[in-house]
């Protein structure tokens, strides 16, 4: 069988899509809207700190975030190709997937920083 990178990228894209569809609504609703706007009382710092400092949380969030970033980058890449008809395929690909690498590094930093 031929080796091609596309199937693997697509698998990550799809996985990210599923996870985003399942997790993002509640995460976005709670952390981006309900807590800042006070619709729901934000949990105490201690409670959240306990959650994020758990190594399991680190693993879960790291996996979740990186796969979602792959999903987003992959999709956005095609949006640039088709929606804006940008023809520089290699450049666009490099920028998009390069952004995932930067993002993954940021995840490592930020999530790792919170896990003590």
């Amino acid at each position: 069988m031929k080796f091609r990178i596309e199937p693997f990228v697509w698998l990550a894209f799809s996985g990210g899509g599923v996870l985003a569809a399942l997790f993002m609504p509640v995460l976005a609703f709670l952390f981006a809207l309900a807590f800042p706007l006070g619709w729901i009382d934000p949990p105490s710092h201690d409670h959240l700190d306990a959650i994020v400092s758990n190594p399991l949380t680190f693993l879960v969030l790291f996996g979740l975030f990186v796969v979602m970033l792959v999903h987003a980058a992959h999709r956005f890449r095609y949006t640039l190709y088709d929606g804006l008809q940008i023809k520089h395929r290699v450049l666009v690909g490099t920028l998009c997937y390069g952004a995932v690498l930067v993002g993954a590094f940021a995840c490592l930093q930020f999530l790792g920083g919170a896990t003590q």
Partner: protein, 133 residues
């Protein structure tokens, strides 16, 4: 194939740059694809949120205050709307991409969609319990 070539006078119509504004279904498609930006944004936002939590009580409160600023709320409302679009479209397209068979019979698309919403409810309930309990 022995199609004569060389004097091809066929007219090739260019695709307009904003082709996806010409038809509703195309527009919805591009909006669906643009949800990717907001997923990326929310990942970044959540990362910053976690970082703030990790930096202590004061940083957490500051972050919540910043997040209540009008421009960030506007951005997050838009982002949430795109997330909902992503979830709905993703779920509704799954049955086309995946054939699930139970005892040799193909599970109807509507059941697959319902299953996904059930999973969404479970995940939502779990996250809410974990965070709010």
């Amino acid at each position: 194939m022995s199609r004569a070539t060389g004097d091809d006078l066929s007219y090739r119509r260019p695709v307009p740059l904003w082709w996806w504004l010409h038809k509703r279904t195309y527009f919805v498609f591009v909006m669906r694809e643009l949800s990717s930006i907001f997923i990326a944004w929310l990942v970044l936002y959540l990362l910053l949120f976690v970082r703030a939590v990790g930096r202590g009580e004061a940083a957490y409160q500051d972050f919540l205050d910043d997040a209540a600023s009008p421009w960030l709320v506007t951005l997050n409302v838009i982002a949430f709307a795109f997330i909902v679009l992503h979830t709905i479209t993703w779920f509704s397209l799954t049955p086309q991409a995946m054939v699930v068979r139970v005892r040799g019979h193909r599970v109807p698309g509507i059941a697959i969609i319902a299953g996904q919403y059930a999973a969404l409810a479970a995940v939502t309930a779990f996250v809410a319990w974990l965070v709010l309990s």
